[in-house]
C-alpha cells in the first residue's frame, strides 16, 4: 500500500481497476483531504471502465459527481453576482484559479470542488471595488484590527470577504504574489495579457501562460500543502491543454523569465514530473532545467517539496514529511516577507493564537 497512492492514480486513472478495498479507502481519504474527491470522480466517470468499479467505492464517486454538478451551478451563479456588483465601477475584473478554469472551460474545472472565488482587480481601484462589493453584500469577517492591517499593508489580497446571505467566500487580489515577496509580480504585466471571457462582457481571465505560472507560484507561497496536490494537478492539466499550441513551451518559459517566476516554474514542473509520471512533456522538463538552483540547495529543496506535496493525510504523515512541511511553512513566509517584517508578525500571530480575543468565534459540534 502506497502513501503516494492518489498521485499515482491521477497519473494513470486506470489503476483504479486494480485497487484493493483498503487502497480504495486510502484513495478516497486522501482525495477528501485534498479537496480532490470530485476530481477523482470525474477522472473515473469519464472512463469506459467506470461501471466496472466495485459498487461501494463507486457510490462515493457518484455522490461526489452530484456535489460537483451542484457546485458548478453555484460558482457560475456566484460569478454572475460578482460581475453584476462590479458593473458600476467599470473596472476590469479578472477571475483567477477555479472560477477562471470554469469560465474558460479549461480541464482543471472538471470535477472541481470550490472553497471560494478569487478575483484580481487593479490596485488603484481596490477601494472602489471593495465599496461596490460591500453594497452588494460582501463583508469582511476579519474583525481583528491587526489582521486587517496586515492584509492591507503587506498582502496581495484583501482579507477574505463573505457574502452576508449566501455565506460564500470571495478573495479580492490586486496581484498574484505579496508585494514584499521575493517573487514579486508586477500586476500591470498580467493585465496587459488578460483575455475576455466569451459571452460575458467585462469578465476576464489571465492568459494561459500566466495561469500556469500562477498555479506554480501558488504552490510555494501558501506554505500550507493540504491543497498542494491540487495545484500540481491544475498545472499539469493546463500544460497538457496548452501543449497542442505550437511554440507554447517557449512562450511559457520566456514569460516565466519576464515575470521573475522561472524558479517556481522549475520546481513545479519537476515536482509534477516526479509525482505524476508521464504527465509532463519531456521537452518542458528539460526546458526549465536551466532554472534549477545551483549547488546542493536546489536538490535539497526539490526533495523537500516532493515530500511535502504528497497528500496531506495520516497515511503519508511520517516524521520526515512533517519536518518538510514545517520547513516549507517557514520558508513560504520568508519568501513573502523580509525577516525584519516577518519576525514581529509571527510573534504577534503566536501571541494571538495563545490568547485569542474574547469575541473570537468558537464552533460547536
Amino acid at each position: 500500500m502506497s502513501a503516494d497512492l492518489l498521485p499515482a492514480i491521477f497519473a494513470a486513472p486506470e489503476r483504479c481497476l486494480g485497487l484493493s478495498m483498503a487502497e480504495w479507502e486510502l484513495a478516497l481519504g486522501q482525495a477528501r483531504r485534498g479537496m480532490l474527491l470530485g476530481r477523482l470522480a470525474a477522472a473515473c466517470s469519464e472512463s469506459p471502465w467506470f461501471e466496472r468499479l466495485p459498487a461501494q467505492p463507486r457510490m462515493h464517486l457518484v455522490g461526489a459527481l452530484r456535489a460537483v454538478a451542484r457546485q458548478r451551478l453555484e460558482v457560475r451563479w456566484e460569478i454572475r453576482n460578482i460581475a453584476a456588483a462590479l458593473r458600476d465601477p467599470a473596472t476590469p475584473v479578472v477571475f483567477l484559479k477555479g472560477a477562471a478554469y470554469e469560465l474558460a472551460d479549461l480541464p482543471p474545472a472538471r470535477g472541481r470542488l470550490y472553497a471560494d472565488v478569487d478575483i484580481l482587480v487593479p490596485r488603484e481601484r481596490l477601494d472602489e471595488v471593495e465599496g461596490a462589493l460591500f453594497r452588494a453584500g460582501w463583508i469582511s469577517r476579519e474583525r481583528d484590527a491587526y489582521n486587517q492591517r496586515y492584509y492591507r499593508q503587506w498582502m496581495h489580497e484583501l482579507p477574505p470577504l463573505v457574502h452576508v446571505r449566501r455565506e460564500t467566500y470571495l478573495d479580492v487580489h490586486h496581484t498574484i504574489t505579496p508585494p514584499t515577496s521575493r517573487f514579486r509580480v508586477d500586476a500591470g504585466a498580467l493585465f496587459e495579457r488578460i483575455e475576455p471571457v466569451a459571452g460575458m462582457p467585462g469578465l476576464h481571465v489571465l492568459s494561459l501562460a500566466d495561469m500556469i505560472l500562477h498555479s506554480a507560484v501558488h504552490l510555494f507561497q501558501e506554505g500550507e500543502f493540504a491543497n498542494g496536490l491540487r495545484d500540481l494537478l491544475d498545472l499539469a492539466d493546463l500544460i497538457g491543454h496548452a501543449h497542442a499550441r505550437s511554440g507554447f513551451q517557449e512562450q511559457l518559459v520566456s514569460r516565466a523569465v519576464q515575470l521573475g517566476l522561472a524558479r517556481p516554474l522549475f520546481y513545479a514542473v519537476s515536482c509534477a514530473d516526479f509525482l505524476l509520471p508521464g504527465r509532463m512533456d519531456a521537452g518542458l522538463v528539460s526546458a526549465v532545467e536551466p532554472f534549477r538552483p545551483r549547488g546542493i540547495g536546489g536538490t535539497a529543496m526539490l526533495g523537500i517539496l516532493r515530500r511535502a506535496l504528497r497528500p496531506d493525510h495520516p497515511s503519508c504523515d511520517d516524521a520526515v514529511t512533517r519536518v518538510a512541511r514545517n520547513f516549507l511553512y517557514v520558508r513560504a513566509h520568508h519568501l513573502r516577507m523580509p525577516a525584519h517584517l516577518l519576525l514581529p508578525h509571527l510573534l504577534r500571530k503566536a501571541y494571538m493564537r495563545r490568547f485569542p480575543p474574547a469575541d473570537a468565534p468558537t464552533a460547536n459540534a
Binding site: 479507502e25 466495485p54 495520516p314 468558537t362
Partner: protein, 305 residues
C-alpha cells in the same frame, strides 16, 4: 460475524488498534479510539450488528482521539479526527461516545449523496415507511423510540436515506439518540430498554443512546417505500390528534429540513415530489405516548385495509 461474538478484551483491543468496522444498513464505519467508554458503549449498542470481514470496504473511519497537550490528562477532552483533519471543536472526554454518533451523522450527511437525505426519523410497518420530520424539541425521537417497541420497525431516527433510483428508503438503523426528559419517559414506557450511560451537559443537554431491538437489526437490509409523512408535535396534556396537511406544504417543509436537497438539484426535486405524492401527510400533536401508539396503529391498519 457479529460484534457479540468477540470477547470484550478483543473489542477493546481492535478499537484501539486498527479499528473495528461495523455494518449499519448501507454504510460500514470503522471506529478507532483509545477511550474505553467508546469501546464499552459500542459493545453495548452494536452487539448484534454484522462486522466487516478483513479486506472489506469501510465508508468512513471515525477516530476519537484524546485532547491535545495538557487536555490529554487534565480536564480531559476528546477530538474527532477525520482524514487528518479535526472538523469539530474538542469536547469533554465524557462525551466521547455521543461524539462518535454525531461524527457518523456528519460523515453520512456530508458524503452520502448516493441518497436524497432528509432530516427525519423513519419507521416501517407492514412494508410501508412513515417519515417523521421535525425540529428538535418536537418529541420526534421519543415518539420514534416508543413506536419501535410497539409494532413498528426502525429505519432511522435522524436520517431518511431515499434512493434516487427507485425511491425506496434504506434502513440506517443506528442507536436512537434520546435527550433530557425523554430518557425517563422511555425508561418507563419500555421496561428493560437498553440505554448507554447518560452524558450530562452536552450542547443538547443530557443525552443517551437506545439500543435497537435485535429483530430490527437483523432486518437492516430490508428497504421500504414511504406511505406517510407525519409532522409530530408534543404538547403536554393534549389529546392525540392527526390533522391532514397539504402535500405541497409537506414537500416544502421536507426540502427545507433536508441535508442535500439543494445539492441534488432537479433529481432531488423529482425524487421528493414522487415520495410526497405517494404519501398521506399529517400534522400530529400528542401529549401521551400510549394514545400516540394507538393513533399510529390505526393509521397503519387503515392503509393495509
Amino acid at each position: 460475524m457479529q460484534l457479540s461474538e468477540l470477547a470484550t478484551a478483543e473489542i477493546v483491543e481492535r478499537i484501539r488498534g486498527p479499528g473495528l468496522a461495523i455494518r449499519t444498513g448501507p454504510f460500514c464505519f470503522r471506529v478507532v479510539s483509545r477511550f474505553e467508554s467508546v469501546a464499552r458503549a459500542v459493545q453495548e449498542m452494536y452487539a448484534e450488528y454484522p462486522l466487516a470481514a478483513d479486506g472489506d470496504f469501510a465508508d468512513f473511519t471515525v477516530e476519537l482521539q484524546p485532547g491535545a497537550g495538557i487536555r490529554r490528562w487534565f480536564r480531559r477532552q476528546v477530538r474527532f479526527r477525520w482524514e487528518g483533519m479535526y472538523p469539530f471543536e474538542p469536547l469533554p472526554a465524557e462525551q466521547a461516545y455521543p461524539l462518535l454518533e454525531w461524527a457518523l451523522n456528519w460523515c453520512i450527511a456530508g458524503y452520502g449523496h448516493q441518497f436524497l437525505m432528509l432530516h427525519a426519523a423513519v419507521i416501517e410497518r407492514a412494508g410501508k415507511a412513515l417519515i417523521m420530520p421535525a425540529p428538535p424539541g418536537s418529541g420526534k425521537s421519543t415518539l420514534c423510540a416508543a413506536l419501535i417497541h410497539r409494532g413498528w420497525r426502525l429505519l432511522s431516527d435522524e436520517l431518511a436515506l431515499i434512493s434516487p433510483e427507485d425511491r425506496l428508503i434504506s434502513p440506517l438503523g443506528r442507536p436512537v439518540s434520546l435527550k433530557n426528559r425523554s430518557l425517563e419517559v422511555i425508561r418507563q414506557f419500555v421496561p428493560g430498554v437498553v440505554l448507554t450511560a447518560a452524558t450530562r451537559d452536552t450542547a443538547k443537554g443530557t443525552v443517551a443512546h437506545m439500543r435497537v431491538p435485535t429483530d430490527q437489526v437483523r432486518a437492516l437490509g430490508v428497504r421500504a417505500p414511504a406511505a406517510w409523512v407525519v409532522f409530530p408535535r408534543y404538547q403536554a396534556g393534549m389529546p392525540a390528534t392527526l390533522v391532514p396537511r397539504s402535500k405541497a406544504d409537506s414537500m416544502f417543509e421536507l426540502g427545507r429540513n433536508a441535508f442535500n436537497y439543494t445539492l441534488m438539484g432537479l433529481t432531488g426535486f423529482e425524487v421528493l415530489a414522487d415520495v410526497v405524492s405517494a404519501c398521506d401527510c399529517y400534522d400530529f400533536s400528542y401529549g401521551d405516548l400510549d394514545e400516540a401508539v394507538d393513533v399510529f396503529a390505526r393509521l397503519a391498519d387503515g392503509a393495509s385495509a
